[in-house]
Amino acid sequence: MKQNRRTFVRAAAAAAAVPVIPSAQAQDAKLIKLGMCQDFTVVYTFVTAEYSQGQRDYFTMINERGGIKGFKFQLDIVDTGNATQRGIEAYERFKREGVVLVDPLSTPVSRALVPRALADKINLVTTFSGRSDAADGEAFPYVMPLSPSYWSQAAVLVDYMRKQEKGLKGKKVALVHIDTPFGREPITLLQVLAKRHDFEFQTFPYPPPGTEQSAVWTQVRRLKPDWVMIWGAGAGQIASLKEAARNGIPMDRIASVVWMSESEMNVVGVDAAKGVLKFEGVAGGREPKIIQAIQNEVVAKGKGVGKPEIVGTTYYNIGVMAAALIAEGARLAIDKNPKGPITSEQLNEGLRSIKNFTAEGMLPPVTITKADHQGGGRGRVAQWDGKRWVPKSDWMAADQDVIWQMIRTSSSDFKKSGK
């Protein structure tokens, strides 16, 4: 398009009018609008960038294939800087524009959006973030974690340790975590599991943002733990691994929450971090069929967004997983309403009837029901071998009985509150 002063002025006027004049857009019956108000600039930064790249590439692939029975997806991407009020603004604007699903990928923003999403009946996707108790679909009908909660992740890690040790009796497990609600979340569950499996459990909080942990790790060394779990994100994870190495704690005894990827390994040193374990909710690497398809149909044709070498990294694949689950939910909704437009309620219905979905082998079989929004809580343990993450176990879920007890306690508290 040729640009002269007139088009510029027009565009500038349009831009100035965007925040003021309500946009009256014609609803396309076969367009499904998704709102991605995520944090690209403050806390989640590269996590969001890679996650969002995966989501966008996946939906590009679907749209390039002609959509799902003619239905196409449109993604609105907005930066929130992890600020609640900016998340709320983006959410309310999405609502006006007819968005049927919002994905904030931020614990504080999603927590603040929960009451609004429930009241407005807009699907709120909280993959690997947000409230763990949103797994209770009866209390949170429109909040969709679609992924193993932090409690399920901790349980899988403990289960792996138990199998390695053939029983954890008398063993010492340390939890080194960031001192925020997110970091403290697994504590209650681990206390219960410590009683159940008879191991000694101790917590070691470090203050946010987590870049300074030296004092904590000397204490960890003094305990001589058999296993260490690290619970943080971004810079905190990197500092944890560096301090662990400095204090002589063997890497293959350290197990991490899901937030650990190739990017962190590159900072810690790919060889220095060899052996570290992490929870994995989705297969990494470029081997999964879906990732190969994206490579061939999107990236190879120059339609991908972002750097091509990101394709197949942990957070990219998590983004693909979220997108694939959303698309599967939409497919089920479209099957029921082939004429469209797909409303938020219909998409919700679709998402809550996903059954044994594996995204062509990239995920453990995920079944989401009206009662269970977590999808089974299955995951596996993967180990860093210096080059890539190698799965060390099968897809499994552990101690879901305790977890569901905790989910129900917490969600019934939620139901009682706010009245």
Partner: protein, 357 residues
Amino acid sequence: MFYRRAGLRHTRYTQDRQLWPLPFDRFLLGLAIVLLVLAPAFLPSLYIGTYLMPWLLWTTATLGLNLLMGVAGQVHLGYGAVMAIGAYGALHATRSGVPFEFALLIGGLLSAAIGVVFGAAALRVKGLYLAISTLAMQYLVDYVIIHVPAISGGTQATLSAPPVRLLGFALTGDSAYYWFALAMCGLVTMFMLNVRRTSYGRALAAVREKDFAAEIIGVSTFRYKLSVFWVSSFIGGVAGTLFAFCYYKAVTPEQFHLELSIQMLATVIVGGMGSVLGSYFGAALILLAPVVLNNGLAGLAKGLSIPINADIAAHAPLVLYGGLIVGFLLFEPLGLAKIYANLRNYFLVWPFRHARR
């Protein structure tokens, strides 16, 4: 021309001392009030609920901090914590059955009581040292909230705010909440406008200019420093309560972190220390500029059909935002209120360039 001053003769002290002696100022004020009150009639609820209301709430909080910083000259780096105390206090009060009107007061009083304890540091230290001791308040309050599940609301650390019932009426819809926020903001604004004309305000000004000089002329710095922390924290607590009930509706500790305290501090400085109007301008710039810039830039890219990289789309508004803040402060270090005052002074004598002011 606009500000016609010819023929205005104030023959009584009350006339001379009124807040807005010029009719044109009164007209502007009236216009602003009418527009704000009628806003829900001509603006879609998106702009009421997510632009105007948070702006008013942020302004209310800024006014409270401005009393402390601008009027009494005491720095506070933990104002977010003050607001958090109010929000959590009021939330727990309503959850145990206290009516909202009283919960609002409880929130304010709780903030005031705890704020004044930390304000006691101001009796011994000032300037940067006071900033650091109030920063300690921020960290202590954050720590307590996160570590006491009874306060933060269990493992998920989220408390939902019940819908507000005011004097027997339930507030429903964005407009009702907006009007309520507007009324509260108006109340605090009236207090701030008038406090400087009282002996209390003059005593605070004396403390601000030189505390030991104030002591020499008979102004008890002990009393006034503590009382200004009390009053300012009370306003902060009320503002925090309004944040929780009118806007967020679900309270998590992150909402009142250090970032909010710094945002508040920036709002006061960018708006203009001690200026009531400046608090409105500052809150508008600091709170709304990132959102407006973000949407505006995205709209511009779309209008010109430039395929804009998501990375740039996310970071460019931040660069502009920083540039705006630095630019305004370079252009006028006394803040946005001073820019307005300069404009007003220009128009006071317009179309003439020079006149006795």
